[in-house]
Amino acid sequence: MSENHHDTSESGPVARVKALETLLAEKGLLDPAAIDAVVDTYETKVGPRNGARVVAKAWTDPAYRKRLLDDATAAVAELGYAGPEGGHLVAIENTDRVHNLVVCTLCSCYPWPVLGLPPVWYKSFAYRSRAVSDPRGVLKDFGTELPSDVEIRVWDSSAEIRYLVIPQRPAGTEKMTADELAEIVTRDSMVGVTNVAAPSRRGDKSKRAGK
């Protein structure tokens, strides 16, 4: 699909970005070192591992879960996560009866401090167009099949609120610690396109940690 095409030719965006960056630097408006710093933040520090820790804590600490549902911005800040696109976080929990799914149909708003920058599929036209009108079909694209009596609730983040889905804790994980649980919480489950699966064998853990 053309929207997923990443142009690296000199005549395309590469030359255009270089031109813009050079001009801004020449005018003394932009320090290339500052550019590297912000890139480093989102490549190494801010990502879905943050959200996974939030979810794992909510699964293991009922008082924290309550604070998270009451005021996610404050609860997430307890773990040290805050920043752009995270000023108004709201946590929504999946239950046996309701499954939540988050989209931004108009652009690609996403809760950066807890999930990092959005993946290409979240920004894709396919997802932005169909998540609201055919959520069950979109879930199938991710291999997620829900019982027909589960209500799908779609959240179109059209304003300042950024949503974090708290997936259901899978059965068979009762003995796992919060740290271990954080390893199995995936980015996609916190957007609501998948559920979290229990590890099939505890021995797989090292593999997952290396991911």
Partner: protein
């Protein structure tokens, strides 16, 4: 504006194709675009609504043929030129072969990223709606920026939460005032949006007060939780 960016409910884009082990950025130029955008609010004097609108103004065919960060790049070029930070001629000249990358190292001034301005406002105009109110999304078709998608216009929903007061994007994007007002989580029945053949389900979307009007249909068969008496009284007292 009724642009191609307003994609909710469109068909034809095919299945969603997740990429395994996806990197944060797919090319170095994407990193640069992301970072320039993050730094430029301060010195270029534009706001996030204006940035979004600049993306929306990309001609539809080009919008659809561009990747996400290409659209960001297009918006940045547009706004930098419109705000007089750079000229179109300068951009074109620099794009010719032999771009002087040395000048990057000579940059002197450091601009820290402008702290992202919280667009929430503590000072509350009175809320026109309360939880449980039946509302209808207005059928607005502004030529400028809006965060009211086409697929909810004219549809009936219920206020489920008042998020508080926020800057209004439709005016802020055009430097026509911040017009702070309440923004609500509004819940729509999937069948109200997509017809009777749609599956059972709900869609919640955040809508500013100016996008909404009280629903006076008073359908006796209303399936959604009907507004309580208290809610109706609350609305009247406006």
């Amino acid at each position: 504006m009724n642009g191609v960016h307003d994609m909710g409910g469109m068909d034809g884009f095919g299945p969603v194709l997740p990429e395994q082990n996806e990197p944060v950025f797919h090319a170095d130029w994407e990193r640069r675009v992301f970072a320039i955008m993050n730094h430029s609010f301060g010195f270029a004097g534009f706001n996030i609504d204006e940035f979004r609108h600049a993306i929306e103004r990309i001609p539809p065919a080009r919008y659809l043929a561009s990747s996400y960060y290409e659209r960001w790049l297009g918006a940045l070029e547009t706004l930098m030129v419109e705000r007089g930070v750079v000229t179109r001629e300068e951009l074109i000249a620099k794009q010719s072969p032999g771009v002087d990358t040395e000048s990057l190292a000579r940059a002197v001034k450091t601009n820290p990223p402008a702290p992202s301005k919280d667009r929430a406002r503590a000072k509350s105009p009175r809320a026109r709606f309360v939880k449980g109110d039946s509302v209808r999304a207005r059928n607005l078709n502004p030529s400028g920026h809006t965060r009211l998608p086409r697929y909810v216009r004219g549809k009936r929903g219920v206020i489920v939460r008042d998020w508080g007061v926020f800057v209004f994007p439709d005016t802020n994007a055009h430097h026509a005032g911040t017009r702070p007002q309440h923004c609500y989580s509004v819940s729509f029945d999937a069948r109200e949006l997509w017809g009777k053949s749609a599956e059972r389900g709900r869609l919640n979307i955040d809508l500013w007060e100016d996008y909404l009007e009280a629903d006076r249909t008073n359908s006796p068969k209303q399936k959604t939780k009907s507004p309580t008496k208290i809610a109706r009284i609350g609305r009247k007292s406006k």
